[in-house]
């Protein structure tokens, strides 16, 4: 277990700049998510940490020593791939033993014990002699996890390891990952495009956009207080509505006004409104036109036209409005986040 420090990492493929100066420090034992849309450079950054990709400039340090020029096999890291990358010609236990064998960790008996312990951690002891292709996707995923933790690496790298699982298995694995991380506390860098995964698993979320770090903060902070329009739209799919701030109110394009917390400078701004924070009122509030209603079981999603802007709003199943009807909506002033226009 060690710190991981990235200093001013840049990376270009030909003329395409994929990473533009990334600075990031991960404390020993911390679980950090790299969150972003596809093409934002998060996977490239992970592969640079692994040593599978070189940097154009910058420095990678693990446990205080510079590993920028070391090949992957000399970095003492472990990586879990999206496709799991289990070696098809080896049994489950040989796959898990592989990093120990290659790194010459202990003798045969010690390796056996470690393999057994790792397989116990992921509850797969009974499948030790199977071939990978005989396992289900979820089981293969656990083997990959066992193989990644067995050598007690300085840094554990996870490249969207849950994205090939169906929704229910994914939630189960999330819980399991949290528990395993709490128990053995490896320094972990986790790449994902799924905000729920990032928020529920990590100590810290690093949001990336176009090769740069957009915001890094704790899950709660980044969700409740996104620093930029991109952050607020990426996390929780907030509705962005242009407005003018005039003291304690925000004036929308069609002239309607909405009370907001004081303290923001007057002038043009963007309001970030989360869909779950919008309430349907009997009277007062803002007027919006219903465009579409989608039944979600426990509630409805409404697509509304608010001052010429399409917004998405969640409502209790009891709220029944037909397309074309006028809805009255309100948002508590402290729930309206004001971002620079």
């Amino acid at each position: 277990m060690s710190d991981l420090t990235l200093t001013n990492i840049t990376k270009s493929f030909g003329k395409v700049e994929v990473l533009r100066g990334i600075d990031l420090t991960i404390r020993s034992g911390e679980f950090v998510s790299l969150l972003g849309a596809s093409g934002c450079g998060k996977t490239t950054l992970l592969r640079i940490v692994a040593g599978l990709e070189g940097v154009s400039s910058g420095k990678v340090e693990i446990g205080g020593s510079d590993v920028t020029d070391l090949p992957p096999e000399k970095r003492d890291i472990a990586m879990m791939f999206q496709s799991y990358a289990l070696l098809p010609h080896m049994s489950v236990s040989d796959n898990v033993r592989f990093p120990l064998r290659m790194r010459r960790v202990g003798n045969r008996e010690e390796q056996d014990a470690k393999v057994k312990a790792a397989l116990e951690t992921v509850q797969l002891t009974h499948l030790a002699d199977r071939a990978p292709r005989q396992l289900s996707g979820g089981q293969q995923q656990r083997v990959a996890l066992a193989r990644a933790i067995v050598s007690n690496p300085k840094v554990l790298l996870l490249d969207e390891p849950l994205s090939n699982l169906d929704a229910r298995l994914r939630e189960e694995m999330q819980v399991e990952l949290i528990e395993i991380h709490r128990r053995i506390g490896l320094t972990t860098l986790f790449v994902t495009h799924d905000q729920d995964e990032a928020l529920s698993l990590s100590d810290r979320v690093v949001l990336m956009n176009a090769g740069e770090i957009e915001q890094e903060a704790s899950p709660r902070e980044i969700y409740d207080a996104p620093a930029t329009a991109y952050a607020s739209s990426f996390l929780g799919a907030a509705n962005l509505v242009p407005a003018r701030i005039e003291g304690n109110v925000a004036r929308l394009a069609d002239g309607q006004t909405l009370p907001v917390s004081a303290g923001s400078p007057d002038g043009k701004a963007t309001l970030a409104l989360r869909q779950e924070n919008v309430d349907f009122l009997d009277e007062g509030g803002l007027t919006a036109t219903v465009i579409t209603r989608v039944y979600l079981g426990s509630r409805h999603r409404y697509i509304l036209d608010l001052a010429g802007q399409k917004i998405s709003v969640l409502a209790p199943a009891s709220v029944m409005l037909e397309p074309g009807a006028q809805a009255r909506i309100g948002i508590a002033p402290d729930r309206v986040r004001i971002l620079p226009a």
Binding site: P72, E73, M102
Partner: protein, 273 residues
């Protein structure tokens, strides 16, 4: 008309041609090999094995083919790995480099080697210029000449067999091995080579079979004194006109190839599970 019947309608003309032009001729050859003036006989086979001359030809055919196969594998594996892992442009050029010779007549390619390997050819004269060999140095009409020519003729088959398997290997497997502590060469040995084994096996079978049964290149590069089994068959068919003996030799070639391939095929099946 049912779908099933329609399917057979598509298959039938080709099947008929294959039976008439392929199965019947081979049957005819098998029959001739055991046919004497008074009906069934194994005389031709006895003649082959009693005379010391023909077993030595058989032995030369086998070991030359084994060496050719091994050399093709040793060159072919890295070459096809490089092809599989290079970008589309480089790969196209490498494919051309392999396919152009393959698609050129074996007679033409052998001619090229005759020029290169001749007494005053490029190779011999270069070696003489650097005083690496004596005045009487001769490459033509040696087993080395056959080896050089045959490897060039057969390498494409090995490369194409391997390439088909290696391009389908997930490069993430190699990356995973690297993150688990394998150096590049260890990754080749522990991951790529075992997973490419089916292609290596198929390529080796093909190269060995083709090598054991070819006579154009050995005859032209090896000369009349270094004979191989296929060349002997050709001679018996076209010069001595001893067809029954030729048929017997063809059966021996056929059986020998099958005999050597059975363990290979078993091995292959086990590798596939």
């Amino acid at each position: 008309m049912t779908d099933r019947r329609e399917t057979w309608l598509f298959l039938l003309p080709g099947l008929a041609l294959l039976v008439l032009g392929f199965v019947l001729p081979i049957t005819r050859m098998l029959v001739l090999s055991v046919q004497g003036p008074d009906g069934f006989t194994t005389d031709q086979f006895a003649r082959f094995f009693q005379d010391g001359f023909y077993p030595s030809i058989l032995w030369r055919t086998v070991y030359l083919s084994a060496i050719i196969t091994a050399v093709c594998a040793v060159i072919g594996f890295p070459l096809s790995y490089i092809m599989a892992r290079s970008g589309p442009r480089v790969r196209l050029w490498l494919v051309i480099m392999v396919i152009l010779p393959l698609m050129t007549s074996v007679v033409v390619r052998t001619f090229g080697w005759m020029v290169l390997l001749g007494r005053n050819g490029l190779i011999a004269s270069t070696l003489r210029d650097f005083d690496l060999v004596g005045r009487s140095f001769q490459l033509m009409h040696t087993e080395t000449a056959i080896l050089l020519g045959m490897v060039q003729v057969l390498l494409p088959f090995m490369v194409l067999s391997l390439l088909g398997v290696i391009v389908r290997l997930d490069p993430r497997l190699e990356e995973a091995a690297r993150t688990m502590g394998c150096s590049f060469l260890q990754t080749m040995r522990m991951v790529v080579l075992p997973l490419a084994a089916p292609g290596l096996l198929a390529g080796s079978i093909l190269v060995f079979t083709l090598s054991a049964s070819s006579f154009v290149t050995p005859a032209l590069l090896g000369g009349p004194r270094i004979e191989v089994l296929a060349g002997s068959i050709y001679k018996n068919v076209t010069q001595t006109l001893d067809w029954n003996f030729a048929a017997a030799q063809a059966v021996i070639l056929f059986a020998g190839i099958a005999l050597l391939l059975v363990p290979y095929l078993r091995l292959g099946r086990r590798a596939h599970g």
